[in-house]
């Protein structure tokens, strides 16, 4: 996608995504938790190095934002790679707890957060 000789920091990460800049699906928010499927599906192709790195990092559940920070890549780039991994059945994605701004919050959840904060 860059014809120039000096690929800037914007362009370079998208080399990892085959030039795509939009995820193929909208499963990933900043706090969606990603976990590597263990064992991987039998027919899974050998992952590319960056994909393999993600799979190693997500052996334990990791939120998308945290994954991006650890990979030192923009969230938008990481999400595109995660879409590939999800489609290949190599990861699972757990969406955040749904929260609406209109008083629809779950009291048990709030109480649990409050109790947890009280312990720190």
């Amino acid at each position: 996608m860059s014809g120039g000789d000096e690929a800037g920091r914007l362009v370079r990460p998208f080399a990892l995504t085959g030039g795509r800049t939009r995820p193929s699906r909208a499963d990933f928010t900043l706090i969606t938790t990603v976990t590597t499927v263990d064992p991987p599906p039998e027919r899974a192709a050998r992952p590319q190095p960056e994909h393999a790195r993600i799979l190693r990092l997500c052996a334990r559940p990791v939120a998308v934002a945290e994954l991006a920070a650890r990979l030192d890549l923009p969230v938008s780039v990481v999400v595109i790679m995660l879409c590939d991994l999800l489609e290949a059945g190599l990861i699972t994605a757990r969406p955040p707890r749904p929260v609406t701004a209109t008083g629809d919050l779950d009291l048990d959840l709030l109480q649990k957060v409050r109790d947890g904060l009280g312990r720190i």
């Binding site: 706090i31 923009p74 938008s76 699972t92 009280g118």
Partner: protein, 199 residues
């Protein structure tokens, strides 16, 4: 938890929730995140052009190439199956389009106010008021000084009575924790009197 997952060795993922830490530039957002987070604050940088524009608009915009919006965040493990993330919002107004994305799915927000220049957080207060996102105000007394009582600050910020105003110190874990608890208490108070939410 990961009960719907058929595979055996896959580690069960926790539920996640988030709270935004907002306010003007330099009010102590990153400091607050670091004070309560169980990990050193992490940072991601999003190329501004990618975050804000369509990629087709990028071609030829050389000078924008290295402009990024940094996002600081931290984590508090509430329980084995619940993790709270705290996101410091980007301070500069031109990055506010990112706030919209950030605000989606947030429990609520803390607006930090620098007691010496409260006007730097007006825009943040406005943002959450307009969207009816619950928030509390934490007044960060730099050097631990709090020259004004909370009620005086509430008045000068023209805050409604149901917005808690707390004097705090962004460098102190317990002080920041209390601000977060005040937000949760406000959320609980909003929920409790309504057995079946109107909408």
């Amino acid at each position: 938890m990961a009960g719907s997952d058929p595979t055996d060795g896959t580690v069960a993922a926790p539920d996640t929730v988030k709270i935004l830490i907002a306010g003007g530039f330099g009010v102590g957002k990153t400091t607050m995140v670091g004070s309560v987070s169980e990990i050193a604050p992490l940072r991601t940088e999003e190329p501004l052009t990618v975050a804000g524009l369509d990629i087709d608009d990028l071609k030829g915009i050389e000078e924008k190439r290295s402009t990024t919006v940094a996002l600081d965040f931290g984590r508090i493990t509430i329980a084995d199956d619940l993790v709270l993330y705290l996101f410091g919002t980007p301070g500069q107004q031109r990055f506010w389009f990112m706030w919209n994305d950030l605000a989606i799915g947030a429990l609520g927000a803390v607006v930090l106010v620098d007691v010496r220049r409260p006007e730097s957080s007006f825009a943040a207060i406005d943002f959450f008021e307009r969207r009816s996102i619950p928030f509390v105000v934490g007044v960060n007394g730099f050097h631990g000084l709090h020259p004004y009582p909370a009620e005086e600050i509430r008045e000068s910020l023209a805050l409604p009575a149901d917005v808690p105003v707390l004097l705090c110190d962004a460098r102190e874990r317990e002080s920041c924790r209390d601000v977060l608890i005040a937000l949760i208490d406000r959320l609980i108070a909003d929920v409790e009197p309504r057995p079946s939410p109107a909408r």
